[in-house]
Assembly symmetry: C2
Homo-oligomer: 487 residues x 2
């Protein structure tokens, strides 16, 4: 199984496909989720809400995608969120200057290097176009935000946010006042972000429009105790630290803090997130938390861990965990001229809150959940998704489309739905084909209505992973399904 296998499945079942695909020249990096994909993505959001947001006592907002240019002046995106690009003077191929230089020198270019410095390194190392070997043009900085022009009479520049957290930062001064919650205060959001990637690739792994599930925990830097730390103290984190050649080495959250591998904040929120990923069905051995070294870390970050998931594309960064310090709120305070401080109730002193960030790519998580659940059993293909993440928990099949079976199936589906379980009815093709189709999208339980159903009111329930079939009486079936689905 590899990336192509997954894309093939996505395409065949309409799970995920290119946006505007009927137009041959549609821009790349934009993806639409069909019904099964949209359902899994939605259920991942719901699980995140329950297992991260509610569990860790956060609040959740829903902000605009399009934001004032000043927001990004403050955040540094207007100035710094740019890739250094070089174009071949002959064939027009376009490259990232830093990546080209890295390939030759085997060294990572430091962040924030000027265009001139890139040009001199390209000259020094005699780097040419990798496709036609011609001379490269001058390096230019290409800002990755999408700009829009607002209004008709005096148009005003605005940008599509490149990360959802900027809505949280801009809203914080009001929210901390009106919500009457003390710090640490976690504010979360699920929403779209946009980045004008130069080479979007690997479908939703690097897309231009994507969904993030971010949580920003505002805290007093003088108080880094974590109230509910005991909940996860003995939970073992899969770690890959700098200079650690092992792929992962489980260390309890408590020990990770005691041995000064990480801060208490890091240990708490990495544990919450790792437990969440396990609930998503990701095998523990495919999860690792990797500390970022000085050169990899964002310039404002004090401590950074990437939570990665192993896929056929290698380790994919799914969650970025950062101590962003007071960088964000200080910058927004300075550029807006507004008071962004919080008062310490004990000392009455004002301070700018620091932020621990948990930034998750929901589309990347979606891909990883789908790929790691992909199973092949001879000719049979199935997704071993947890029942609460499957596109439908239950599919109902009338064995044949006559003798009153379809009507019976509709009635049974309605009963299952009343029990709070989502259900689909499939009537087309042979029962074998229908099982195969249900397997392929990960439906955990198939309820089949046959002639015996009409006689004695019993149905078969077939379980996806084991293929086992058992008969249940209508009436007791609903409660059994509830238990199996985990309701």
């Amino acid at each position: 199984m590899n990336f192509e296998t997954m894309m093939n499945l996505f395409s065949r079942r309409g799970i995920l496909f290119p946006s505007s695909e009927i137009y041959d020249n549609h821009p790349s990096g934009f993806w639409d989720y069909g019904p099964y994909g949209a359902a899994v993505k939605r259920k991942l959001s719901e699980l995140w809400r329950r297992e991260v947001i509610i569990r860790a006592n956060m609040i959740e907002i829903d902000g605009s995608i399009c934001m004032d240019a000043d927001v990004f002046r403050a955040s540094g995106h207007l100035e710094g969120f740019a890739d250094p690009l070089v174009e071949c003077s002959k064939c027009g191929a376009i490259f990232r200057a830093d990546k080209l230089i890295e390939e030759v020198t085997k060294e990572k270019a430091p962040e924030g290097m000027s265009a001139e410095k890139f040009d001199s390194l390209i000259t020094k190392h005699k780097i040419k176009c990798t496709s036609c070997k011609s001379q490269l043009g001058a390096t230019r900085k290409f800002n990755m935000m999408f700009k829009v022009s607002i209004g008709a009479s005096k148009p005003q520049d605005a940008y599509l946010r490149p990360e959802t957290c900027q809505s949280i930062f801009a809203g914080f001064p009001r929210l901390v006042k009106v919500m009457k919650k003390p710090l640490p205060l976690g504010i979360a959001q699920i929403g779209r972000s946009f980045r004008n990637e130069i080479s979007p690739r690997n479908a939703v792994i690097r897309a231009r429009e994507f969904t993030q599930a971010e949580a920003e925990i505002f805290f007093d830097p003088g108080k880094t105790e974590v109230e509910n730390f005991e909940e996860i103290g003995n939970y073992k984190l899969n770690l890959k630290s700098e200079g650690d050649s092992r792929d992962y080495s489980p260390v309890s959250a408590k020990d990770a803090v005691g041995r000064k591998i990480m801060s208490k904040l890091a240990a708490y929120y990495l544990s919450i997130m790792q437990q969440f990923l396990v609930k998503c069905g990701i095998p523990l051995e495919k999860i690792r938390n990797r500390e970022l070294g000085n050169e990899e870390r964002a310039f404002y970050a004090k401590e950074s861990w990437d939570t990665e998931i192993k896929t056929s594309l290698g380790w994919v960064e799914v969650v970025a965990n950062n101590n962003r310090t007071d960088y964000d709120m200080a910058a927004h305070g300075k550029i807006s001229g507004k008071d962004v401080t919080v008062v310490n109730p004990e000392t009455n002193e004002k301070f700018i809150p620091h932020i621990w960030e948990i930034s998750m790519g929901l589309d990347r998580l979606f891909y990883c959940v789908m790929e790691t659940s992909y199973k092949k059993d001879g000719e049979r293909v199935y997704l071993s998704l947890p029942p609460y993440l499957a596109p439908y928990s239950v599919a109902v099949f009338p064995l044949i489309n006559k003798e009153g079976m379809p009507a019976k199936a509709a009635g049974i589906a309605a009963k299952i739905r009343e029990a709070g379980i989502d259900v689909d009815i499939e009537t087309k093709d042979s029962i074998g084909k229908r099982y195969a189709r249900a397997d392929e999208i990960g439906i955990p339980f198939c309820v089949t209505i046959d002639s015996q159903t009409l006689e004695d009111g019993s149905v078969t329930i077939r379980e996806r992973d084991t293929k086992e079939q058992k008969r249940y009486k209508i009436g007791s079936m609903e409660e059994s399904l509830r238990k199996m689905v985990g309701k």
Copy 2:
């Protein structure tokens, strides 16, 4: 109670506030939902999913906001989605030419009139700037879509969709193949849309970024029977037809069809939507379905009904219901050159599907639900939201913040949450103030932990609308709350 009262409440409780508000020059027409607002909006989406999408056997997708320019060439938006604007040559005030002319002539300007025609009418009626009485400039057509430029090397124009349905139309050819569902096939979507409104106003009623919940039902124009019509046959619709001076006149869906007031499709989906609005807590007398006359209807629409809700701002259009004919798919087929037809299984003939559209503005619905639920009882203000739409179903209050009450409250909140009910804990201020705050955001049930709780394990539950308080034993309380909340 008026619009200002609502905005004041929204602002005071962080329910809804301007995006990027800490920046003084932030563009208008963009709004952020704080925790309580986001929760109500999310619950409205969930209710719509259950009462419209699942109920009417539709499927749901989740598409990109940013789409290929060709999509909008086909849809007609590139050419026609433009307002005729005139600017005052002296003070720079900007006006819609059609609205200015309408005010003077008291006649609606026909759709698609040219800029020159507007100019000649302005000259004919001697129309001046309404603010400084100076001469107006020439009319220009201002396209209301936001354009973005994609990619670095050969930038490509794309647009933020002005309506979510375009994702549905572009995805239809694939979806109808892979989903193996017969027509009529309803495809729905909740998502953001963007329109560069010239004068955004009334907060989310006319914003530049907004959330739509749209459903497009693809049907064979030769088969307009509605399978489950009997379900709503006797349901009474509030109607305001053209030439009907009454505000509403309940007619059963069956009679509305029999008396040729509307098509069967209209009667079915208007009933589904009216029932949904009633479930949202909108009083029946504040709902009306108004047929649009020839001049009001979009040029491609064959039958159009606006479902409107009465607010302090007048009747607000919340749902647009349209028979869009084969306009959309014919246009996309033509411009893309792709096969967008469907095969009739009986005759084997290909045809372009027609579309019945139910387009709902989720932010407008949010506003209407909040406003119509606003109640004043002496000094007391409360929102009489249905329990399943309240930001939290339950709030838990420890009477005082000592004697073990906060810990007890946390334990009780956890039990309520385990019962599948969302819950908030409030510890600040007097119990009276906490009740008042809960009322103001519509929390239907407040559970108070007092000294008696510590003695006999009982709590009080206070009901929002009646203010009645009753004691319940922990253990039986959870099930009682489940019933009260409607789980």
